[in-house]
Amino acid sequence: MEMKKNRQGAVLFSDYTRGKSIEKVVGMPRGDVLAEVKESKLKGRGGAGFPTATKWMLTAAAVAEKKYIICNADEGEPGTFKDRVLLDEYPALVFDGMVIGGYVTGAHEGILYLRGEYSYMKKGLENYLEEMRKDNLLGVNIAGKEGFNFDINIKMGSGAYICGEETALIESLEGQRGEPRNKPPFPVNTGFMGCPTAVNNVETLAAISHIVVKGGKWYQKYGTDKSSGSKLFSVSGDCKKPGVFELPWGTTITDLLKLVDADNVKAVQVGGASGVCIPKSQFDRKLAYEDAATGGSIMIFNESRDMLHILKNFMEFFVEESCGQCTPCRIGNVKLLEGVEMIESGNYTFSYITKLKELGQSMQVASKCGLGQSSPNSFLSILENFRDEIFNNGNGGVNVR
């Protein structure tokens, strides 16, 4: 794995010293810290975009003997690797953010749920936690604050995309199959072991460390009105400079493509396999919660790529990763994949494809969790936006079956 030092970025990749935010919060009342987070308007960076301050307020307000802060490092969305970079190069940001979460919500235990594919990082992270304990940034009476006790454990995933869904993650931590739960109750009330639990994305927690030190107002300066701050974009595919880039929300796709030096781009998949595929004609769209939302995954496809092949790869992914618990997702994804294979072999009717599109829409409303609700996105957007290439002799007829 390659390391890139001296990354550039206005917020997350700006200077930070380990423990700085913890030392600051222990001198503040809980309410003030929450107010600062609220002012930043930070939303969850996993993709769903739930306001972090609200999540923490609910966890803080819950009355219970035990509470938990869980850092969701199960990034499995195709095309996403920002959490790998954060944990590998900026662990201070993530762990300090968890400690602050503990301070604010009253949790004494933090769990980092690290995906099995990243087990090569475990040892280094454990050593890092040990150093934090030595510096009194974890353990008892943290940073000299009487009664502020918090520690972090690392738990490994075992290769299941669905465990990135917060309730499936909790099931997995409890020793069960990673099948999502019904909501409500939400984890903020009934989470890990039935206790109030805040599950936050790696990047959200990293942002918290900066917000606490530099203030919510400072953070809010970046980005758009509805999407404050900056975002890490994991850029891959057909470009000369793939990698992780920090940009303010509201950056257009065109600007991003320039930054990573991508030529002859036909399509950009925003939000991973569960996101949408955006054609050239819409490259002026903004990357933001209110327009093209993403948990960070940006995949670039140039003119030479076969969109149906890409769609097939996505559908194979979902067929494998559906947990199988609810019918719309378990059967629906198989049917959509079959549809793609029918197109591939030239053995389809337009009326059946129309039915499959309706099935996709049903899955979006009827599936139990985000996986099945979002898995038809690429099916619907690719067949719609690239219908000329796939069905109507577009693209010079090269990709028509």
């Binding site: 969305e77 594919e117 490994m156 290769g159 995309y161 931590l173 891959s236 595919g237 057909d238």
Partner: protein, 157 residues
């Protein structure tokens, strides 16, 4: 399984339960350790874990069958997992896969006769900016070419 092997395994699992505890939440960490050492979780191991955690053996099997990195079938000493997701796919996964298959004389999903390597596909390993990528046990290898991949695989014992 030989009686002696069973005794060793039993002792080992007892030690794991001592380390991780006997609550249900200890189940996956215990299974991960058994998987790591034995490359699969045998029926006997499943029963022992179930006994010590006071749950039904089927509960243990149910969990193993859910997770891609846990296995109830014997695997080779090393597991090669090639990323099959889109960016690795577009970066040349197919030719890398073919080269590995030719070299080892097995297909994906199979294990070499000498038990040295099991070959599997896996979904996105988070190396999309450096694809094609593969995991060998816990280690990650990136920017593979067919030649480079075969060279790496030939080096593992």
């Amino acid at each position: 399984m030989l009686v002696m092997e069973k005794n060793f395994l039993q002792e080992e699992i007892e030690k794991l339960v001592e380390t991780f505890g006997n609550s249900r939440s200890a189940l996956i960490p215990i299974l991960q350790e058994i998987q790591k050492k034995h490359h699969y979780i045998s029926e006997f191991a499943q029963q022992e874990v179930a006994r010590l955690l006071d749950i039904h053996p089927v509960e243990v099997y149910s969990v193993i069958s859910f997770y891609a990195f846990l296995s109830s079938e014997p695997k080779g000493r090393n597991i090669v997992r090639l990323c099959q997701t889109i960016t690795c796919d577009l970066a040349g996964k197919y030719s890398v896969a073919k080269a590995i298959e030719r070299e080892l004389g097995i297909a994906f999903g199979e294990t070499t006769k000498d038990n040295r390597i099991s070959l599997e596909y896996t979904n996105c390993v988070g190396m999309c900016d450096q694809g094609p990528a593969m995991l060998i046990n816990d280690k990650v290898y990136t920017r593979l070419s067919p030649e480079k991949a075969v060279e790496i695989i030939n080096e593992i014992k």
